[in-house]
Symmetry: C2
Subunit: 348 residues, 2 copies
């Protein structure tokens, strides 16, 4: 694991080691905004409050007895690949490894909301974690805040969201959100709130820090920028090997491998270029498509016949026909890095 | 006039000179975000677009022929009095004079919207000015933006909003928004967009820069901060004379005068303290109440019988019974400075 922050634990997966569909829990990236909270499972409770017919309070044992589901979900940090941006931008300098794929077991969010009874005027559910701290840069709220995100109640994603207590078949670790974390399939990781303690159903639009200031982007509507929360993961292929500046022997076939994912669709194809984007060749997609999970892929590249510096690229196309852009869009600030990223290699 | 910014014209009224209900146009404060735009009244047009039945394009001559209204409105900058905050905060360091009271003549916004025909799913109208520039600090949109604010279509204020082309009985000057500016009675000045060129009726909530990042505050709902646009002016009394550190002669009656205003209600009373808030005495309200206009007031203070340093204060109460707070609320960042502000004087 690559440590990205000495004070608050933030680690990423060494993506070059990618060799399995499921990312081992110990290697799954960690993105924390605050120090780990102290959790006592005996006294821990999750409450459902706000615009509900009947507020609900659930303990850990009780939650684990409710009908459960298991889903396989690829989660990518909205800032993954940030370290590659030029000029340098603010934020954790992630390389490629702020992404992973795991199975998550828990109770559908919808089942909990149904239990509480959502009132007709409700429009969003705010999900609050136990972790908290103070924001340093303005515009910042006064005092401490908890890590919090909301989901619109009419978003189709709501039917797939899970309140998970297990990851890869084992009880969630504290680092991954024990006792309970939200999993929002297809959305960047910032939506999957850890250490969930409160669900607040609300009739007013919520504009919390982590969806209005941070983890938000400007979108031009009629030419006018309006601030919108970051949500859906963009279609993307990421090359595990060769690594950046890896040496490839001359006259020797070699394998290019990686993973590709999409927040909304399946991956239809991954194409590889070994000549900086001049020509493209289909990679082989491994296994079967699993909705919301990445697809591993491999490409057997023909040998290079001349030594020199080469640039390899991978680009994914999803089943909606959407292909990764070659250039980064300028309105994405330091998030949503989903354009085709060139990997320079040396052949000798 | 007191110049507050050398590059972009920002000037405030020397509030100590307050002696008339109407602020002369030449002394009315100027708050600009960008350099003055170049306007040619011959080619200038205002368009009404978006979720309307019939887009409307209006020229200057045409606008001036529509049924007009004149209203008297006190406008205060949301950052007025900022220079008094400790610790110092970011932003234009206004003393007391980023406030003024003027008559405004123009066409009701509602009449223009009715002419275009608002579609049933519309929820807001975005008002765009011609002035534009680039924001410097993140979170900032890419490229230039126009100064823009929106009004919710279901807000009662909408029925009073005016698209004004005259101020104090004369054609609007370029500095005050010629050829057309919005006037939103009872709201801080940031809502009264100058040099209006576009009204965009929208079915989606608008989160523009000047209402989500700037001119917005954190409001805690269920303990969770949510970002809301600054809107209504808070009830406030401001002392014109004596000024800060003015010398008052011993054994001599003196007059304390100023103005008081409220965004929603009339001023019910203004009280004065000459002993740092220990005792309060009613001031005399001058003239008759005019909705959305300030009320001038005066108080004949008894002579001081001992030399020394004294602190005078004024506090307003509106007809809803709301009295100015003695202490500043910590969640207001560098805006909405409406608590009672002590004025230190010297008696000798």
């Amino acid at each position: 694991m690559i440590v990205r922050d000495p004070e608050v634990e933030n680690r990423e997966y060494p993506f070059a080691t990618l060799n399995s569909f499921i990312t081992p829990t110990a290697e799954f990236y960690l993105r924390n905004h605050y120090p780990y909270p102290t959790i006592d499972a005996q006294t821990w409770r999750m409450t459902v409050e706000g615009r509900v017919e009947q507020p609900v309070v659930l303990g850990y044992a009780e939650l684990r007895q409710l009908p459960a589901e298991t889903i396989t979900v690829t989660m990518e940090c909205a800032g993954n690949n940030r370290s590659l941006l030029t000029p340098k931008t603010e934020g954790m300098q992630w390389a490629q490894g702020a992404v992973g794929n795991a199975t998550w077991t828990g109770v559908p969010l919808q089942a909990i909301l149904t239990r509480a009874g959502v009132q007709p005027d409700a429009i969003e559910v705010i999900v609050e974690g136990t972790d908290k701290g103070e924001i340093k840069e303005p515009p910042k709220p006064d005092g401490e805040i908890h890590y919090t995100r909301s989901l619109p109640l009419d978003d189709p994603i709501l039917t797939n969201a899970l309140l998970a207590y297990a990851m890869n078949g084992e009880a969630l670790s504290l680092a991954h959100g024990y006792p309970l974390r939200l999993i929002v399939p297809g959305w960047y990781g910032m939506a999957s709130v850890k250490w969930v303690t409160r669900l607040i159903v609300t009739a007013k639009p919520f504009h919390g820090y982590y969806q209005s200031i941070d983890y938000a982007l400007w979108e031009r509507v009629d030419g006018i920028p309006t601030r919108v929360p970051i949500t859906t993961m963009q279609t993307k292929a990421s090359i595990a090997r060769p690594e950046c500046q890896e040496e490839i022997p001359l006259h020797t076939p070699f394998c290019i491998n990686g993973a590709a994912w999409s927040g909304t669709d399946e991956i239809a194809k991954v194409e590889i270029s070994v000549d900086a984007g001049q020509s493209w060749h289909p990679a082989q997609l491994l296994g079967e498509p699993v909705r919301y999970a990445w697809r591993l892929w491999t490409y057997n590249a023909p040998p290079f016949t001349r030594p020199g510096f080469y640039t390899i690229m991978a680009r994914a196309t999803d089943t909606s026909g959407c292909t990764q852009a070659m250039q980064r869009q300028p309105d994405r600030e330091n998030y949503v890095i989903s354009h085709v990223i060139p990997v320079p290699i040396t052949v000798q």
